[in-house]
Symmetry: D2
Subunit: 214 residues, 4 copies
Amino acid sequence: MKYGLIGMNGRMGREIRTLFTEAKHEMVLGLDKGEEFILEKPEVLIDFSLPGGLEKTCSIIAKYHCPLVTGVTGYNDDRLSQIKLLSKKTGVVQAYNFSTGIQLLLKITELLKNHLPDWDVEITETHHRFKKDKPSGTAKMLGGLFNNEAPVHSLRLGNVVGDHTVHFGGLGEVLSISHKALSRRTFAEGVLKSAEFILTKSNGYYSFSEVLFK
Amino acid sequence: MKYGLIGMNGRMGREIRTLFTEAKHEMVLGLDKGEEFILEKPEVLIDFSLPGGLEKTCSIIAKYHCPLVTGVTGYNDDRLSQIKLLSKKTGVVQAYNFSTGIQLLLKITELLKNHLPDWDVEITETHHRFKKDKPSGTAKMLGGLFNNEAPVHSLRLGNVVGDHTVHFGGLGEVLSISHKALSRRTFAEGVLKSAEFILTKSNGYYSFSEVLFK
Amino acid sequence: MKYGLIGMNGRMGREIRTLFTEAKHEMVLGLDKGEEFILEKPEVLIDFSLPGGLEKTCSIIAKYHCPLVTGVTGYNDDRLSQIKLLSKKTGVVQAYNFSTGIQLLLKITELLKNHLPDWDVEITETHHRFKKDKPSGTAKMLGGLFNNEAPVHSLRLGNVVGDHTVHFGGLGEVLSISHKALSRRTFAEGVLKSAEFILTKSNGYYSFSEVLFK
Amino acid sequence: MKYGLIGMNGRMGREIRTLFTEAKHEMVLGLDKGEEFILEKPEVLIDFSLPGGLEKTCSIIAKYHCPLVTGVTGYNDDRLSQIKLLSKKTGVVQAYNFSTGIQLLLKITELLKNHLPDWDVEITETHHRFKKDKPSGTAKMLGGLFNNEAPVHSLRLGNVVGDHTVHFGGLGEVLSISHKALSRRTFAEGVLKSAEFILTKSNGYYSFSEVLFK
């Protein structure tokens, strides 16, 4: 496919380019701070930039009528509405985490929550010492499944890419489900899956969970 | 409820009696090697004895027309057919493991298998040094979900009650689901749930998974 | 041996009695709320009561000139001095945790701390939902090795007896050491080791670590 | 320091060059298949090539009188004797694994083995699906501490860099020590430590354990 990439020089941007190149996809539009090129019309636009760039993203989509895969975090309500509006006219996949394993972790946590209503729940996450937010966005999503009533423990250890565990404890047994990210590549693979998915839709708003499980 | 218990002096028999007494249920029929008493008609019969006792179990059910919860292991095909036949006339719950957590472990393993067809799978189980079989019955059930093609590793460590983990490994991430039994009480709780369930059925054959999830 | 036991009806008291009886030791003096008996002079006195009972303990030792193994927690400085004073005249083993594994966990944590000065450290502990203190006494001891500068995470899950893990994270690797208590029996075994040890000493103050490693 | 590197284009060679460059060390001699350059006399020679290159390595050392750090694996007894002989005249550090964490894992395992003679021991290791040997070299070293009588379980999962755990199980408790490698960088750091160490020695044969702990 021919794709456009906003935020092409960020950590995720570079990871996406590496994987997409391996898969023989061609970057025909690229954008980042002080850099911009357009070779031809992209079939799909991928956005891993910052919230402030949404107007630019919308104008590119208006011009080329292509669908969007966005992993931008930190949009306010206004901008989230703008994205929903966009999805009336073109296909949009929006997610904060493009890992298949994390989506399954969320799905299983939901399943266990429903079957084990009176068990204790604890959430732990471990990341590298350079991570600035605490708890991680994924831990917040997991906590959200329990109305933020499950304790979340954040460990910061060396250079760990990212581990998340949800522990369920009953009086006679303990069940726990753990996810370990080994590299950022796993997220780029989710972006690729999403791009392939959204190419088949004419419009509509989709989560990454819908990309995987529908 | 008024219940009968075959194998009342075994390890599981004693655990069941303790829990059922706490829950105000009354043992009205008891049977074990060289011991037998019948106070009145049981509403449900629980069997944790040995395969050879099946005829006796059937004759009690024929006499009192009560449903059966059986955790006997090691039946041959003939005896398994006999139990299926019995379930035409009365309700039967049959299982080798009455832990809620293990049933959920099986369910989640199935779900992950379907979503992660090209990931590697490894199964580990840890039990006390006195355990005679290797791998454990539960590990065999887990392995059965993968046509016994997933490696099973059996650790024997001190006095560990029973741990099982299924590991799924992809190129960018690892997902694992672990179950730890803390005490045999958890199995007695599953027997109680099964007894309560089968009291509401006039006949039919049920697995413990159906008791929990239907 | 002939032993005395203060706090004989508490959870630890009963565990000690069971193990000591199995090992053919004879309780000749017993004390608890509203209960007291003395059959003959004890060779060693074991105290698992409350801080307020120290005077009574001292008076028994004064009378019978026997050594002391004490697991009482919560003494203030005055009472701690009193115990030190007592050890001038008779042998005393004092500890808050009589598990061999926990002593090794402490020893190894100290060793790793010295070899990995610039690694991150995180401590996690998991106990049953009924535990009142947070973090556990053992987690506090572990934290103390790092001047309380290592984060401690306390999980409360179902009926878990007690797990402690110390995680060390460097930029290229992670080392972690975990201890899981399977039953309270392990503590009673440490008390027995301490009683056998102190029988061979005429006086002096000993930690459980000295019982094990000297 | 000014260093020479034999096997400069292999996986470990490139990792070493990256780290040494960051630390402002200068490669003045480089060698690999079909490639060779010498700018000036190296202060230390690092060898991560194949066993067959030992004569070349020896001739370089004879010429420049510099010490050696070698991570070459698979030497036969003749060549091992040759290295020992070399260490009469110059300092040599030889190891198959330059990770600090693995050395500590070995040291702690030895310590626990001595303190817990009657506990059960189990060893598990997990590596990526592309790893050819089974069990890993490190797992063999760990097993060697128990005269190869401890069971070793090898899991192959996706892209895992390398995990090793030694489990000790007693009747009342379990202790386990785990090492997880996050990247090959950790090995390059051990090579740097060894190079700095051997610069201070005029001759002698040293293991990486001696570099770390002496």
